[in-house]
Amino acid sequence: MSVRPTLALALALACVMAAGRADAAAPGAASAPPEDRLLPVDQYTSDKARTLGATHREALRALNTGIYHCMPWVELQKHSIGFFRPKGATADFRYLTLRIYIEQDPSTEFARFRIEERASGMFSRYVGPLLRRMTKDPAILGDPAVDGFTVILEWMKQLPRAAGERPVHETIAIFIERNVAREYLEGAIPIADVAERARVLGFDGETALGPLRVAVWEDKFVATFKVSNYVLEPGVTCS
């Protein structure tokens, strides 16, 4: 039987709601995302990274919590936030990194686009808002040891076609130098310029596709999209 994950999740969500909220936190207490979304400080391989990880721990926790509550349609896996070094970097360049999985149907309309177009669409939707979230604490952008930002966006490309098969994800990794991010966040350049000056790598499942050229536009999706009937927990605000 072919069932889209969205339908499966709808069923599961309906079941969860029908079954009551026995697992929910006590009224008034906001749930928290798992702490393991952050790379532990002792798992970095350089003093520079360990210092960054320790110095900005609270900012990273706030980033994790903010995405958990305010962008509930995306998911963070273990060790998705940290000061990682882009693979193959010639020095110990440390980029504040965030990897998210965007939960959406693999639509035929979207699938008909070329990979560069899909990457452009995802870049347009998410990179600007995520950069703002990643730098909500001004100490991040003010720290000269932060060399840049990496945003990794992942979505489902293909459902399992037969029993025992696994779903396939498509991923883009975007590397943005600190000065470019700063110019964008200060309003000096549009997101299209960020895309031109960023390095974007594509992946089809586990296969590297190499650098992608993207054409990006201002997109208000993250600011305007609301999950139906979603209510923020007491004490949580999203801005």
Binding site: R4, P5, T6, L7, A8, L9, A10, L11, A12, L13, A14, C15, V16, A18, A19, R21, A24, A25, L39, T45, H69, P72, W73, E75, H79, G82, F84, R85, P86, K87, A89, E103, Q104, D105, F110, F113, G121, S124, T150, I152, E154, R166, P167, V168, H169, T171, L201, F203, G205, E206, A208, K220, F221, T224, F225, K226, V227, S228, N229, Y230
Partner: protein, 85 residues
Amino acid sequence: MRSMRLRLLLVGGVLGAVTGCATGEEWTTWKTHPTHFASGEHMFFSVRNREGAQAQVTRQDITLARNEGWWGKPITVSQDQILER
């Protein structure tokens, strides 16, 4: 227990099928943008309760629903293909 779970799944399916439509606001959002490809969340979070009033979906509901609707370990790029620690 198993049959109870199945019954709940069926009830959920009917509920989802009947109420799984995008709201006007969501469609407006779609129409505002040239690439309306993120359709999934529009449907699978559109669950309303049976009395007509809108059900409230909490963050924990979404987490639990994800756990139940999991499709298995995906084929995807590993962190160490992109990043170093």
